[in-house]
Symmetry: C2
Subunit: 293 residues, 2 copies
């Protein structure tokens, strides 16, 4: 019997990590596809994905993309354009290629410049993740109640967009459409900058060799939150930082100004100003929580 959720025959997942693996798990669970095949750099990770029944088979050779009608590229952002270039020649006419990269403008632009004839590309970015990575970290419920941003342009094939939208909705996500440029500005602010800040904080406490005590051992609550963020995959965050460089540098500058104002208020013992700033942050959080509940 066909599943009510079926959208594709064969899904190829290139990069069977946290995101790609979780997509595969849920797609198989709900019968969204008949079969999932995996590709990736690490045979060890692909073997893990096989053992965990995340994928049905894996290959090293893109000729096996032949009859996949949906190809998900879930590799580090720096490799996505190159992989589309390699993969599309093996895809059959009408196949849909989509990605899950956290940066969109550069990727979408370069793929549209490739002007692929056979396939339809739809850019996507699911707002989901943990600080863990690899197939063993994947789980089917990862996208439930999360947003997934799709970044179509005027060149995007509408039926392909509709199918990718359905794909994400069936995986449990709320789909939002957005221009690639706006996407990158927003995520520089609320995701890429906070990661750079967390890395910088851990760096600066690591560098405090002049204090004898092992200060890390006193960390609780808040500092542990920062170290958790700063333990995210270094390769992934290197690539995101470089690919969204312009927006990220702009956001770092804005943050430096805000921090500089705080430093000035503290330095001049301006308690009134500090209270106002801290109170405004608390209000912003309360508003945010209310809007999410």
């Amino acid at each position: 019997m066909e599943s009510d959720f079926k959208l594709f025959n064969k899904m190829a997942v290139i990069g069977v990590g946290l995101i790609g693996g979780s997509m595969a798990i849920r797609s198989k669970e709900i019968g969204l596809v008949d079969k999932v095949i995996g590709f990736g750099r690490s045979v060890e990770n692909l073997e893990t994905a096989m053992k965990l029944n995340i994928i049905d088979e894996y290959h090293r050779d893109f000729t096996h993309l032949k009859d996949a009608d949906i190809v998900v590229i879930a590799t580090p952002v720096s490799s996505i354009v190159h992989i589309v270039k390699q993969a599309e020649r093996y895809c059959e006419r009408g196949a849909i290629i989509t990605d899950v990269g956290s940066v969109k403008e550069e990727i979408v632009k370069k793929i549209e410049q490739l002007n692929p004839k056979h396939i339809h590309f739809v850019g996507a970015h699911p707002i989901a993740g943990t600080e863990h990575s690899g197939a063993s970290a994947a789980f089917g419920a990862l996208f439930e109640g999360k947003r997934c941003v799709l970044t179509p342009t005027k060149k995007t094939d509408q039926p392909a967009l509709t199918k990718v939208r359905l794909l994400w909705e069936r995986l449990g996500a709320e789909v939002v459409l957005m221009e690639p440029k706006l996407h990158d500005t927003i995520f520089a602010a609320i995701s890429h900058l906070p990661h750079i800040i967390a890395y910088s904080l851990v760096k600066c406490t690591n560098d405090m060799k002049d204090i004898d005590e092992d200060i890390m051992s006193y960390s609780a609550g808040v500092f542990l939150d920062f170290t958790r963020i700063a333990s995210s995959d270094p390769e992934m965050w290197r690539d995101i930082s470089l690919l969204n460089k312009g927006n990220l540098i702009e956001m770092i500058k804005r943050f430096e100004i805000a921090l500089g104002e705080m430093k000035k208020a503290i330095g001049s013992s301006d308690g009134h100003r500090l209270y106002e700033e801290f109170h405004a942050s608390q209000q912003a959080r309360n508003k945010l929580i209310k809007s999410k509940s």
Copy 2:
């Protein structure tokens, strides 16, 4: 029947909030004291504490401190010295006064300058808390498995120190002794700086009025962590920032240097350097988690 855990007859808690309230709850639960009386600015909060059975009675007048043998000052750090000054004249000879302030050097120094004749002061800082405040947020298990730093000096009465140490151990905490000055340096790095950073991040995204989208609504995971930190009690963090100003400004400067180096590596597309920095952060986190497990 006397409890095996009994240490004091009557505990006075000045400031029945998250910390003071949680101390009262657990102290009563385990029979560490016979009675807990509360003091505070807000009658509404004291009434809440009565309803929740956190305290046995409350008073507005320090004459009721008369037969309290342990007085816990759990008010904002800026008021601690003043309250000790007001309270100690009503205490009986030998009473112990202790605090729970997150800043120690200035407080301990000023209280020792008061040179109180009747009472013994022991500075304390339990490393526990949530972003919630007030008596209604208090719970008895708050200190379980957490550290509590005591900051005795050469003027500290040894039997009083022993009793305060026992108090915290019986509340479930692991007690650490530390010089007030070292305490303030460490907590500027791992607690006060992260709070200022979180406040600054929320401020800078709040200030992005030039972006039409409600960017806060896209926040997930990491950004939500930052807003949670930045929703901490504004009055408390104003006072901590001002009282630990010297160390905090020093730490902000160190952080600015670390962030500046990250910005430079991103700006010059130095992927190798970024990977090294991010990887070192990940290693530091892994070491920390291993040491805590």
